[in-house]
C-alpha cells in the first residue's frame, strides 16, 4: 500500500469517497433550494424535513405502515367522534420503486403546502416565507418523532448494489458509486431542463419578470406551484438515496439543512451550475478535512463561508445583490 502525505492512501480515498457522497447530497439539496428561491423568492427552511420525508417514504414503502382510518359507528350508541382504526398497509415496494414514488409523494405534499400556505405570502417580505417554512419543518419533524422516535431505522442497500469492487487503491462499494453517478445525472438533467429547454426558458423568464410572462399567456401561478413541487421532490429523491447510507431518522434533515444553507451562501443562488459545483466541491473539502484535521470536519464549511463572505460577499457564483 502506498502513502500520500504520510497517510495510507486507503484512508485518504475512502474519506474522499465519503466526501463526494456528502457532496452529492449538498448539491441536490442546494440545487432544489436555488430552484425554489429563483421562482418563489423564499428560502425553503423545510427542505431538510422534506429530505427526511423522502427517506421515510422509502422506508414505509418497503416495510409497511399503519394507516389511521376513522370509523363512524352506527346505531343508537353512535358517538359524534369517529373511532380511529389502524389498518396495516404493506406495499412491500423496494428501493427502485421508492426512487420513483418517494419524490412524487414528497413533491405532492409540497404542492399542497404551496397551495395552502406559501401562495398567500407572495406579496409579503420574503422573511415571512422563511418563518413559515421553519414552522412547517418543526411540525413535520415533531410528527415523525412522535410516531417513530428519534433513533435511526435501518434501510437495506438494494440487492443489485450490495457488492463492491476493488480498484487497486481502495474498495468501492457499488451503492456509493451509484449514489455519486446518479445524483450527478439528476443534477445535470435539472441544469439542462432549466438552462436549455423551452419550459426552462419560461421558468427563467418568469423569475426575471412574472408580470410580463403572464401577459404572454403563461400560467405563472401554476408554474410557481409546480416549481415548488419539483424542488421539494428533489429533496425527497436525495432522502431516498441517503436512506441506505445513513439511518432513516426524523432528525436526519435538521442539521443537514444548516450546512446546505452555508453551501448556498458560499455558492450564491444566482446559478444552477454554481449550486451543483459548490455542493460537490464542499463535500470533497469536508472529506479531506476529516483526514488531515478531523476536529474541524464539522465546522470547515462554516469557516469557508466566513472567508468567502470576507473576500467575495456575493458568493462564488452569485450576482451582486
Amino acid at each position: 500500500m502506498f502513502e500520500i502525505f504520510g497517510l495510507p492512501a486507503q484512508a485518504l480515498f475512502s474519506q474522499l469517497l465519503l466526501g463526494l457522497i456528502n457532496g452529492s447530497f449538498y448539491a441536490l439539496l442546494s440545487l432544489g433550494l436555488a430552484v425554489i428561491f429563483g421562482m418563489l423568492n423564499i428560502i425553503n427552511f423545510s427542505h431538510g424535513a422534506q429530505y427526511m420525508m423522502g427517506a421515510f417514504a422509502a422506508y414505509l414503502l418497503l416495510n409497511g405502515f399503519d394507516l389511521p382510518i376513522p370509523q363512524f359507528s352506527q346505531g343508537p350508541s353512535a358517538s359524534w367522534l369517529p373511532a380511529i382504526v389502524f389498518k396495516h398497509i404493506d406495499p412491500g415496494l423496494n428501493y427502485w420503486w421508492a426512487l420513483i414514488l418517494a419524490p412524487i409523494i414528497v413533491g405532492m405534499t409540497g404542492i399542497v403546502i404551496e397551495r395552502l400556505f406559501l401562495k398567500h405570502l407572495r406579496n409579503l417580505d420574503p422573511l415571512y416565507g422563511l418563518l413559515l417554512t421553519f414552522g412547517l419543518a418543526l411540525v413535520i419533524q415533531g410528527l415523525f418523532q412522535n410516531v417513530y422516535g428519534s433513533s435511526g431505522l435501518p434501510y437495506q442497500v438494494p440487492n443489485a448494489l450490495r457488492e463492491g469492487r476493488h480498484l487497486g487503491f481502495m474498495y468501492l462499494p457499488n451503492y456509493r458509486a451509484w449514489v455519486i453517478v446518479f445524483s450527478l445525472l439528476v443534477c445535470l438533467t435539472t441544469w439542462f431542463a432549466i438552462e436549455r429547454t423551452r419550459l426552462g426558458s419560461y421558468l427563467r423568464a418568469a423569475t426575471e419578470n412574472p408580470i410580463l410572462v403572464r401577459a404572454f399567456g403563461i400560467n405563472v401561478p401554476r408554474m410557481i406551484t409546480l416549481t415548488y413541487g419539483i424542488g421539494v421532490g428533489l429533496a425527497g429523491l436525495a432522502g431516498v438515496m441517503a436512506a441506505p447510507i445513513y439511518n432513516v431518522s426524523p432528525l436526519m434533515g435538521s442539521d443537514l439543512i444548516i450546512v446546505v444553507f452555508a453551501v448556498v451562501v458560499i455558492g450564491g443562488m444566482g446559478s444552477i451550475m454554481g449550486a451543483i459545483l459548490t455542493g460537490f466541491a464542499l463535500g470533497i473539502v469536508e472529506g479531506l478535512t476529516k483526514v488531515f484535521f478531523p476536529e474541524a470536519s464539522n465546522t470547515v464549511i462554516f469557516v469557508i463561508m466566513a472567508i468567502v463572505l470576507l473576500v467575495r460577499p456575493a458568493g462564488l457564483f452569485g450576482r451582486t445583490a
Partner: protein
C-alpha cells in the same frame, strides 16, 4: 410590499406615550406580586427569555434584520458566565459581566460577517455561524460536552446578598431585566434608533441621506448580541447550569417564535411572547415532541393570519402604542 413592520410613528413628542407608561407600571406591579403566586424559578426563566426576546426584537423589529443565530450569544454567554462563577470563583456580578462581554465580542465578529449580506442571506449566515459555535461548544473542553457546566454557584451579589435565596435571586433578576428593557426602549427612541428605523424602511434612501448604514447595523447587532448575552448569563445563574441546549438552533428558533407571537416591533410583545412560550413549554413538557408540533403550528398561524402578534393586535384594536 408590506414590510415586516408598519411605518414608525414619527411623532415629535418627547414624552413617552401614556399607554406605554400604564402598561409598564402594570407589568412592574404584576411581576412584583407574581413570585408569591407562581413558582419563582418559572418566573425567572420567563424573565430571562423576555430580555432575550427584547434583544432579538431590537434587531428584527427596528432594523428589519432576521437573525436565526441568537442562540450563540445566549449560549456562549451562559457558558462563560458559568465558567467564571464556578472555575474562576468570580462573584455573580462579575460572572455576568464576563458572559455579557463574551456575547458582545462574538457579536462584533458575527455581525461584521453577517451584515455583508441582506435579507434572507442574513438569516442563513447567522444560522450557519451559530451552528459553527454549537460545534465549538460541543468540542471545547471547558464546556463539559453533553453534560454542560453543572452546579454553578450563585454566590453573593456584591458580597452582600445571598442569591441562593429564591426571592433574592428573583428580585435581582427582575431589576436587571427591567433595567435592560428600559435601556432597549431608550435605544429605540434615541436619534440612533430613528436611523435604525429609517434603514428598516428604506436602506438605499438612508444611504443617500449620508448615513453609513453598515455601521449602524453593526452597532445594532452588537447591542442586540450583548443583551442576549446578558440574558444568557442570568439564565446560567438561575439554573446553575450552562448546557448545549442553550447554543442549539432550537433556542434561536424559540426566540424568533416568542418575538413573532408577541408582536414584532412592539415594545411589550417580546415580554408577553416569552411568558406565553415558556409557560407552554412548561405545561406541555410531558407530551414529548408535541411541543415541537405546536410551536411549528404557532409559527404557521402567526405568519398566515396573525402577523401583528398578540400585543400588536391589542395595540391595533385600542389604537395605542404598546
Amino acid at each position: 410590499m408590506e414590510r415586516v413592520l408598519k411605518p414608525a410613528l414619527l411623532s415629535r413628542r418627547r414624552e413617552t406615550p401614556r399607554s406605554l407608561v400604564v402598561a409598564f407600571a402594570a407589568t412592574v406591579m404584576l411581576l412584583a406580586v407574581a413570585p408569591f403566586v407562581v413558582y419563582p424559578v418559572f418566573l425567572m426563566k420567563a424573565l430571562c427569555f423576555a430580555l432575550f426576546a427584547c434583544a432579538f426584537n431590537l434587531l428584527i423589529g427596528y432594523v428589519g434584520l432576521l437573525s436565526f443565530g441568537h442562540a450563540m450569544f445566549f449560549g456562549w454567554a451562559s457558558y462563560l458566565a458559568a465558567h467564571a462563577a464556578k472555575v474562576w470563583a468570580l462573584p455573580p456580578e462579575l460572572a455576568v459581566v464576563v458572559g455579557t462581554a463574551t456575547a458582545a465580542i462574538l457579536g462584533i465578529i458575527a455581525g461584521g460577517l453577517a451584515i455583508r449580506r441582506q435579507g434572507i442571506y442574513f438569516a442563513m449566515i447567522t444560522l450557519a455561524l451559530a451552528q459553527m459555535m454549537y460545534f465549538f461548544a460541543l468540542q471545547a473542553k471547558f464546556t463539559g460536552g453533553e453534560d454542560g457546566i453543572q452546579g454553578v454557584p450563585r454566590g453573593r451579589l456584591f458580597g452582600l446578598f445571598d442569591l441562593s435565596h429564591e426571592m433574592t435571586m428573583y428580585a435581582c433578576i427582575l431589576v436587571v431585566v427591567l433595567g435592560g428593557f428600559l435601556v432597549i426602549y431608550r435605544i429605540i427612541n434615541s436619534p440612533f434608533g430613528e436611523v435604525l428605523k429609517a434603514i428598516r424602511e428604506n436602506e438605499p434612501r438612508t444611504v443617500s441621506l449620508g448615513y453609513k448604514t453598515e455601521r449602524y447595523k453593526l452597532v445594532a447587532f452588537v447591542l442586540s448580541a450583548t443583551f442576549a448575552g446578558l440574558a444568557g448569563s442570568l439564565n446560567a445563574l438561575v439554573f446553575q447550569l450552562a448546557s448545549l441546549t442553550d447554543v442549539h438552533w432550537t433556542m434561536s428558533g424559540d426566540v424568533v417564535l416568542m418575538t413573532l407571537l408577541g408582536g414584532l416591533g412592539t415594545v411589550f410583545g417580546p415580554l408577553i411572547g416569552a411568558f406565553v412560550i415558556v409557560a407552554m413549554e412548561n405545561y406541555l413538557a410531558p407530551f414529548g415532541q408535541w411541543v415541537l408540533v405546536i410551536q411549528g403550528a404557532i409559527f404557521v398561524v402567526c405568519v398566515l393570519v396573525f402577523r401583528r402578534g398578540i400585543v400588536g393586535e391589542i395595540a391595533h384594536g385600542l389604537r395605542v402604542q404598546l
